[in-house]
């Protein structure tokens, strides 16, 4: 009996993914550990390794297929001594593939007499969601779709806290026609987007259409919602970083330093600390309540091929500079390699975006919902400043804070900026 290769769950929350590439073809011999395919999820591309050894008997889901459900049968592996004739009976035992699959699907679905049950723990419709009885009941009471909620329990089980988080964040709404409130909003959003078939493109020069990756779709969706739904306002301040640069030099120059702290690491630390001192800025707005987070999970925007991603430093305020620096470096590296696991980039209570390395003086960012704020960091440059009535030269960075006015007011934002400026200009306080 051939071994079934199923669409793997690359994270506890993954429900489906794109089969980006097959690294093997039918007839290839594989050993346990060989990379056989690449799977693309929302934001990361990950490799699938063979668990057993054998010969690839049949590839059932073609390269490039989108929306392949977790645990769907994607290929069959022939064990030693089996030849292709073994594949005949195997097809009938395969779980019913989703409609997205084109070719081999009918053979499986049309077979009425499955001789053995599928190995994978999915129901006939393929959409069983692991969830607690309490989570299901609360979701039903709140009109939420349990399938649309990301689970945080063991093996991605949806538990009470996930349903409550979805309720608070206003996500996970059941998409039934009855959800009348959501429908017009979605329609309004769609009317603003533009299709390739739009006549306007006929008037424009020739172009190459690069299909939107999952990451691009996510960026487009979330930032459109943010720009449309969140009343942003910006606060800007100049801070002097000469003392910080001196301290950085001293720390990095210490004997046996197994870290290299960047200016950005200092700013991450300072921002996190300032947020713990002005916790009213470490918040998220929901319809019923403002959620005040009890720790700072700092998301850091990292540019990657084809988009950007925001890996998260958990509980950043309580971490030392060396720890922060090493963690930030590791996350950025793995972000560029597309190797972050979803837990490492989903969440975060606040974001920092730094375009200083490109010489940008200052800029405004769009908030990453449901977070309440985002800090934009410009380039550190020598500028003339007035000190005690005389002209002097100082290294200055311009910081711009964008906040969600629904949960953070001007004076609160300003209090945070004041705290942040104080910490950056007297950086020794960061060491306390």
């Amino acid at each position: 009996m051939p071994i079934q290769i199923l669409m793997p769950a690359l994270s506890p929350t993954m429900e489906e993914g794109n089969l980006a590439k097959w690294c093997v073809k039918e007839g290839d011999t594989v050993e346990s550990g060989d990379v056989i395919a690449e799977i693309e999820t929302d934001k990361a591309t990950m490799e699938v390794e063979a668990v057993d050894e054998g010969t690839i008997g049949k590839i059932l889901v073609a390269e490039g297929t989108e929306g392949v459900k977790v645990n769907e049968l994607i290929a069959l592996l022939l064990e030693e001594g089996e030849d292709e004739s073994a594949l005949e009976g195997a097809d009938t035992a395969a779980p019913a593939p989703a409609p997205a699959v084109k070719e081999e699907a009918p053979a499986a679905t049309s077979s009425a007499s499955a001789t053995s049950s599928p190995a994978a723990p999915v129901s006939d419709s393929g959409d069983r969601v692991f969830s607690s009885p309490l989570a299901r009941r609360i979701a039903a009471q709140e009109g939420l779709d349990i399938k649309a909620i990301t689970g945080s329990g063991p093996r991605g089980r949806v538990v009470k806290r996930d349903v409550e988080a979805a309720k608070a964040a206003g996500t996970g709404k059941a998409s039934a026609p009855a959800a009348d409130k959501a429908a017009p909003k979605a329609a309004a959003a769609e009317s603003k987007t533009i299709s390739q078939d739009d006549p306007i493109f006929k008037l424009l020069p020739e172009f190459e259409a690069v299909p939107n990756s999952n990451m691009r779709k996510t960026i487009a969706k979330r930032l459109t919602e943010s720009a449309r739904d969140i009343p942003h306002f910006n606060l800007q301040v100049d801070v002097e970083i000469d003392k910080l640069m001196a301290l950085r030099k001293e720390l990095n120059g210490r004997d046996g330093a197994d870290y290299k702290i960047s200016v950005n690491d200092f700013l991450v630390k300072a921002t996190s600390l300032a947020l713990t001192r002005v916790p009213d800025c470490n918040v998220a707005f929901t319809d019923d309540a403002i959620l005040k987070f009890k720790q700072v999970d700092m998301a850091i925007a990292v540019a990657v091929d084809g988009g950007l991603i925001t890996p998260i430093i958990k509980d950043a305020a309580s971490k030392g500079l060396a720890t922060l620096a090493n963690e930030a470096k590791d996350l950025a590296l793995r972000a560029r390699e597309g190797k972050l696991s979803p837990e490492e980039y989903q969440g975060g209570t606040f974001t920092i975006s730094n375009l200083g390395m490109f010489g940008i003086k200052s800029f405004n960012s769009i908030i990453n919902p449901p977070q309440g704020g985002i800090l934009s960091i410009g380039a550190g440059e020598q500028r003339p400043v007035v000190k005690d009535g005389a002209l002097a030269v100082a290294t200055v960075v311009t910081l711009t804070l964008a906040v969600d006015h629904r949960c953070i007011d001007g004076a609160t934002g300003a209090a945070f900026i004041k705290e942040l400026k104080g910490l950056i200009e007297d950086p020794i306080a960061l060491m306390l």
């Binding site: 009885p133 309490l134 009941r137 009471q141 538990v159 720790q295 309580s318 060396a322 720890t323």
Partner: protein, 467 residues
């Protein structure tokens, strides 16, 4: 010892420390466990385990006294306190040896000495006040536990005023006794000494015994124990102990009214304080919380990088099973294991081994109301359970509390025979987030005491059969 660098060092070999060390070793980490006294800590040597051994003797003695009601004859029943204590010590010794064996099997390096943080990932180990080695590790877990608290004027002297240490190894049963504090420790010793003939009075400062338990359950337990002849004074403070040759005179203050009580011995069981002194917390930059325990995050990390704390020293509830659970969370997080979650303290059960036993998990009725829940409460008495009657244990009840809106099991509270062995059923239910529906659908075996758990849930929804 040639090598002093480890992946993980655990300081303290109680139920937090030794469990953490074993788990770390299982995960392939080079692990050291530093312990100054006994493997197994207070729990195994001077707490949970030896008291259970003493109370087992008390329970059997109690049964023997009532042998006739089972159709049995037992003449001239007697006891030998020295042998009872000897058995208890033997149980501790056996289990402590077992811990040593487990540590050895898992290749944990056990270091006999007193560990003290030096900061920067270093730990000095002392013996007889002298540092004999310094260990290094990026991850040091402090599991130094707690000790008996004492109040001014009520300090134990080990002779007339005891802590659990002396109460565990009595040479004779005092004629009369005052137990200060009605938490698990106080109540258990009160039961033990009362069973063997002491005239026991328990004094509790707040208005109910076992203050963390559901009031209805506490009152039930108190009434049952009073029927057996124990005395309780709630809302009462002990302000002074005057020691004389022939006994101790305690001055009691009950809401402004003063009275005195003369007893042979006093046991103070007024809670515990964490062992945070002289272990180098300042040197390492480890901060305490506002109650004096080491402050930790959900994964037991302290304010100092590379230093962790678990168990009693890291905050209430000071229970062995909480320490062990934190140990696993802490070590698995350090080892980078997937699926590690912070401990949900609302899921920690509590057990008290008095007669009748008391066990609970989750919110009390008062606690649930204070949190704003509209609740449904179910109760089922031992009197309605066949197995309880057959056992000759008709006193007790099981109480369940549900959120009316969602059917969430908010809390379960039990008093009666063997309930400490039943409570984990509701612990599993709460952890898996079952609602009343799943509990009702569960088949409970007959005849067992556990059927009362089912009936209590049914009663909350007006569906109880046997009452």
């Amino acid at each position: 010892m040639s090598d002093t660098t480890f992946d993980i060092i655990v300081v303290g070999a109680g139920p937090g420390g030794y469990v953490g060390a074993i788990r770390a070793a299982q995960l392939g980490l080079k692990t050291a466990l530093v312990e100054a006294n006994h493997l197994g800590g207070i729990c195994l040597n001077w707490g949970c385990i030896p008291t259970k051994a003493l109370l087992r003797s008390a329970e059997i003695y109690e049964h023997m006294k009532h042998a006739a009601s089972f159709g049995l004859g037992a003449k001239d029943i007697s006891f030998d306190i020295a042998k009872i204590v000897q058995r208890s010590r033997g149980v501790s010794k056996q289990l402590s040896g077992g811990v040593g064996h487990l540590l050895k099997k898992n290749k944990v390096t056990v270091i006999d000495g007193y560990g003290k943080l030096l900061g920067g990932g270093k730990l000095a180990v002392e013996k007889d006040g002298k540092v004999f080695t310094t260990l290094n590790s990026k991850h040091i877990i402090m599991a130094t536990g707690a000790r008996a608290k004492s109040f001014p004027g009520l300090e134990p002297d080990g002779k007339q005023v005891w802590t659990y240490m002396e109460a565990l190894v009595p040479t004779e049963v005092p004629k009369s006794m005052l137990v200060i504090g009605s938490g698990a420790i106080g109540i258990e010793f009160a039961n033990f000494f009362h069973t063997f003939g002491a005239d026991v009075t328990v004094v509790e400062a707040v208005d109910q015994i076992m203050p963390f338990e559901d009031t209805e359950i506490s009152q039930f337990a108190q009434k049952t124990m009073e029927k057996r002849g124990m005395k309780f004074m709630t809302g009462t403070k002990v302000t002074k102990l005057d020691k004389a040759k022939d006994g101790v005179t305690a001055t009691l203050d009950k809401g402004g009214k003063t009275e005195t009580l003369k007893v042979d011995k006093v046991i103070t069981a007024v809670g515990v304080v964490p062992n945070v002194e002289n272990i180098g917390l300042d040197a390492a930059g480890v901060k305490l919380d506002d109650r004096g325990f080491i402050a930790i995050d959900g994964y037991c990390k302290t304010s100092a990088d590379g230093v962790y704390a678990i168990g009693d020293v890291a905050g209430a509830p000071c229970l062995a099973h909480k320490a062990s659970h934190e140990a696993i969370i802490c070590v698995e997080k350090i080892a980078g294991q997937k699926g590690v979650h912070p401990l949900d303290k609302s899921l920690i059960p509590g057990c008290t081994y008095c007669q009748p036993q008391v066990a609970s998990v989750g919110l009390t009725e008062r606690g649930a109301k204070e949190k704003g829940y509209k609740i449904k409460v179910g109760r089922f008495p031992f009197m309605g359970n066949g197995k309880a009657i057959a056992l000759g244990e008709p006193e007790g009840m099981i109480k369940t509390i549900f959120d009316e809106k969602t059917g969430e099991l908010l809390g379960a509270h039990m008093v009666g025979a063997e309930v400490t062995e039943l409570i984990q059923g509701f612990g599993v239910a709460k952890t898996l987030e079952t609602t009343e529906e799943d509990l009702m659908h569960t088949v409970f075996p007959h005849p067992t005491l556990s059927e009362m758990m089912h009936e209590s849930v049914l009663d909350a929804y007006g569906k109880a059969i046997h009452f």
